[in-house]
């Protein structure tokens, strides 16, 4: 996938990342009177990384982003870019790019003038400015629209102009605040590829805010999952999906089936979880804890298949979603679990009682 050029550019950058992180957020916190918008937070971002701040609204991700770019003053803590303390640097002197949620293109300037704006602010010579604006326009495939005004562009085109305006001056860190939030689903997916491509081609360090978990999984090198004004879990998309640390993490990313219960050891010392739906074997490497929540993903469940654990229930619904079919099984009362139907299997009939099984090492016990 990577072009040789892009590989050459990203590889050394990542090698050097271990020394000084591109961005270091150290004990950063924000309070508004009695409300804490962000608990003291530490976050290291190596150069060239695509990091996503993911979380529900009010989780503190936008506050963190706005403090990094200087639009919000922190109540405490430090922000270091390339090892330099930038906590008190005014917005316009910080070497940071911000892509706004609603683009914030200047309506009175043309596309080219919008993109040239940051260069003008940096005193770039006119000839150089024109060349770089042209390059930036080519990069987002909008060379033919240089003379248009933002109002004359579609939403997707405006988004590209906003991206070009940010990439054109090669800021140390690029922040994106839900940049695709205003686009429809199809266009959003397309723009995800575009942003990934720009990231690859430029090797920029990008911090991306979203509340869309699919977007986060698809785009990020690492995801910083946030909840209740603090970091819930930080890791690669696969990490967070496969090894969630909390019930919130499991529930927020992907679809999860959750069983709460007490941890016991059987005669051989293997861990078990005793729940209202029965006792389940846990994976052998489960850390010691008195109780917890067992998380099992729909694709790890099997109807009438093999497995160490089993629950029985009545099929209440099947949902066809094109690439997969999901089956809802009621365990009695309010409780239902979601099972992804194995390819090539005929869906069970509604009302049929089925046995749902999974292997002990497929589940993850979280707090």
């Amino acid at each position: 996938m990577l072009s040789p050029l892009a590989q050459a550019r990203t590889a050394p950058v990542q090698a050097g990342a271990a020394a000084t992180p591109k961005l270091l957020v150290d004990g950063l916190t924000k309070r508004y009177g009695a409300i804490t918008a962000l608990e003291p937070t530490r976050l290291e971002v190596p150069a060239g990384e695509f990091l996503t701040l993911l979380g529900p609204s009010g989780s503190g991700k936008t506050t963190l982003l706005q403090m990094i770019c200087g639009l919000v003053e922190p109540s405490g803590g430090r922000i270091l870019i390339d090892g330099q303390d930038e906590t008190r640097t005014p917005v316009h002197k910080r070497d940071i790019g911000l892509v706004f949620q609603h683009y914030a293109l200047f309506p009175h300037l043309t596309v080219a003038e919008n993109i040239g704006f940051p260069l003008r602010m940096r005193g770039v010579a006119p000839a150089d400015l024109t060349r770089r604006v042209t390059e930036a326009l080519e990069m987002v495939h909008l060379g033919h629209l240089a003379g248009r005004f933002p109002k004359e562009l579609s939403g997707g085109q405006q988004q590209r102009v906003a991206l070009a305006r940010c990439f054109v001056y090669q800021p140390s860190v690029i922040l994106m605040d839900e940049p695709l939030g205003a686009l429809d689903k199809k266009l959003r997916e397309h723009m995800q590829y575009e942003i990934k491509r720009l990231h690859r081609e430029t090797g920029a360090t990008i911090i991306y805010v979203t509340h869309d978990q699919e977007e986060a999984l698809a785009m990020s090198d690492r995801i910083c999952l946030m909840n209740h004004a603090r970091i819930e879990q930080l890791g690669t998309p696969h990490d967070i999906y496969a090894r969630p640390k909390t019930a919130f993490a499991a529930d927020f990313i992907g679809v999860s089936n959750i069983f709460r219960g007490q941890v016991r050891r059987d005669g051989s010392g293997a861990p078990m979880l005793v729940t209202g739906n029965g006792s389940f074997r846990l994976s052998a490497d489960t850390p010691d804890r008195p109780d917890g929540t067992l998380v099992v993903r729909p694709e790890q469940l099997d109807i009438d298949g093999d497995g160490d654990n089993e629950v029985r229930g009545e099929v209440v619904d099947t949902v066809y979603a094109g690439s997969e079919t999901r089956v809802l099984v009621s365990l009695g009362g309010e409780e239902t679990i979601t099972v992804r139907l194995r390819r090539g299997t005929a869906p069970p009939r509604l009302g049929e009682v089925v046995a749902v099984r999974w292997r002990a090492d497929a589940g993850v016990l979280v707090s």
Partner: protein
């Protein structure tokens, strides 16, 4: 979720607090200016009114004299009578016109509003001159009458002349105040009332009219307050019976230099204006003036409300009783045309006077004959060869330009400061900037004259500029505030993240985007000054004559066709400015 939005909004509010290029004290120049040249002089004038001339001791003598002296008391009464009648007639004539405008398609409405606005943009002196030409003993109407063999009617220097001039001047204000309220009324509500069994008259009076009442009340308030301070129209179109308070104040100052008595008269006018505002605020809430719906409108006090409903029902009954036979007599087709026909007539009434002046400016006769016996440029030649007229014109231009620059700058800073402030002083400061619009001009002018006399600003251009800026500030402030309200401050944040400091953000992003408001403010201020007479009468000191002052002096002495030529030039200048502003305001895209 609520915690989430709070959190987010909090973040943005903090961002604004940090980003804005100067806190609330951006309003400081404007506040200081108004404190020195508006609040202080007006308060001192009020203070003078309760001081004894010799001993400076506290006294109520001046007030007692007004009430006790028959002449003064009659002037007081006729002032309220004329202002009240003007407000009433403006509402009566204006309501159907506004109703008609409200249901026009947007494009046609825009054009019709331009026509309605003509008197609004025409100088008071030009308007009044036009009415003198139309209503005079040998004026347009009487010449037409004598041409058809009828005897001339006394139309000028009486109540009729004053009402024609005042209603003509106030109708646009009444219509433009009622219109926004009417356009927001959902006409389907009237249909709903009819499907629920209400006859058309009931549907109108009990639904539409009631919903339009806040607009009617606001229009009544503004026309009444504005009318209180009139002196040009009653002085030139009225007789002794129509003398108004402002004329009395001018005489007291100019001929007797009786500050204390003038102060007492001014107090009466100011108190009348404030009491009217207070009553309005009690009934409707002042915030509804700016088109915002207040919670108070709907609620209403129990018996007052039910009494009002009874009146409206009676009106509905009366109008359907009247409407039935009239409708049968005229036929449905004619009934449908009644409103457009009426509206056309009112628009002619509004536009025609300004046009009548034009042929007279080109007359060859030394008199105001209509139609002119021949056409030439004689009177323009007189105008441009007269040092008096030319220097007055140049001074008016210079003063208006300086006023416009000053007012736009000061009001712009204040509007920016207030738009981004969440201070609890915000409302009070906002009201203070609008106050010179509520306080009658004559009160401000006399107060300023007293101040200027002491600090040597009488008969100076600077004095004129300061006085005009006080009067123009509210208009400039409203014009800019309206635009700033809709400004997207995220663009300023974007500029900052892209590397622009506060000053460059202001100059490259904020100012270009609120340009429309700035141009409008400049224009309002320019025209306010260009057409201003009240301050000029006192402050020009007979030396630094402005164009309106020169016209006023001429009109009092002797009507002549030069005035028509001047009127045409003034009218042309204002129209050119309007067109230029429209062109400047048009966004680049």
């Amino acid at each position: 979720m609520s915690a989430a939005t709070l959190n987010h909004d909090g973040a943005f509010a903090a961002a604004r607090r940090r980003l804005r290029f100067g806190p609330l004290w951006l309003a400081a120049p404007g506040l200081a200016f108004l404190a020195i040249f508006f609040l202080f002089p007006v308060l001192r004038l009020l203070g003078l009114s309760v001081q004894d001339l010799e001993t400076s001791a506290w006294t109520g003598d001046h007030y007692a004299r007004i009430v006790a002296t028959d002449v003064y008391f009659r002037v007081l009464m006729s002032t309220f009578r004329i202002a009240g009648l003007t407000a009433l007639l403006s509402l009566l004539f204006g309501y159907p016109l506004a109703y008609w405008l409200a249901q026009l398609p947007e494009r046609q409405r825009g054009l019709a509003i331009l026509a309605v606005m003509v008197p609004f943009w025409t100088s008071y002196l030009v308007k009044t001159f036009a009415w003198m030409v139309i209503l005079g003993r040998t004026g347009v109407i009487n010449q037409i009458l004598s041409g058809t063999g009828m005897s001339p009617l006394p139309l000028l220097h009486n109540e009729f002349g004053v009402m024609a001039g005042m209603v003509h001047a106030m109708l646009p204000l009444a219509v433009l105040t009622m219109l926004p309220v009417m356009t927001t009324i959902d006409r389907r509500l009237v249909q709903a009332a009819e499907t629920l069994g209400a006859p058309p008259a009931n549907a109108f009076w009990l639904v539409y009219f009631q919903l339009s009442l806040p607009g009617v009340a606001a229009a009544g308030l503004l026309t009444f307050i504005s009318s209180l301070g009139f002196f040009i129209v009653p002085a030139l179109l009225g007789g002794p019976q129509q003398t108004m308070l402002a004329q009395l104040i001018i005489t007291q100052i100019q001929e007797m230099l009786n500050w204390a008595f003038a102060g007492a008269l001014a107090t009466f006018m100011l108190v009348a204006a404030l009491v009217t505002c207070w009553v309005y605020d009690r009934l409707f809430g002042l915030s509804s003036l700016s088109g915002e719906t207040s919670g108070r409108t709907g609620g209403g006090q129990g018996h007052l409300r039910s009494a009002g409903m009874k009146i409206l029902s009676a009106l509905a009954k009366a109008s359907s009783a009247l409407g039935g036979p009239v409708g049968r007599a005229l036929g449905p087709k004619m009934m449908d045309r009644l409103l457009p026909l009426y509206s056309a007539l009112v628009i002619v009434f509004l536009v025609a006077p300004a046009l009548v002046v034009v042929p007279i400016a080109f007359t060859t006769s030394p008199f105001l004959d209509f139609p002119p016996p021949g056409y030439g440029l004689e009177w323009f030649r007189v105008y441009f060869n007269s040092d008096l007229w030319v220097s007055a014109t140049i001074r008016s231009f210079a003063v208006a330009f300086a006023t416009a620059v000053l007012a736009t700058l000061v009001a712009g800073l204040a509007a920016l400061a207030l738009a981004r402030s969440s201070s609890r002083w915000r409302g009070a400061i906002f009201a203070f900037f609008l106050a010179p619009m509520i306080v009658p001009r004559i009160v401000i002018a006399v107060g300023l004259f007293y101040l200027f006399a002491q600090i040597g600003l009488v008969a100076t251009d600077l004095g004129l500029i300061i006085g005009h800026t006080v009067l123009a500030l509210p208009f400039a402030f409203v014009a800019i505030s309206a635009v700033v309200k809709g400004h997207d401050w995220r663009l300023d944040q974007a500029a900052a993240t892209l590397g622009a400091n506060r000053f460059r953000t202001l100059m490259l992003v904020t100012v270009p985007l609120i340009r429309g408001g700035l141009v409008a403010a400049f224009l309002f201020a320019f025209i306010t000054s260009f057409d201003e007479l009240t301050v000029a009468i006192f402050v020009s000191g007979g030396v630094k004559t402005t164009l309106p002052k020169q016209m006023w002096d001429d009109m009092i002495l002797q009507l002549n066709p030069t005035l028509a030529a001047v009127s045409v030039v003034v009218f042309a200048i204002v129209m050119a400015l309007l067109l230029m502003a429209e062109w400047l305001r048009r966004p680049a895209r």
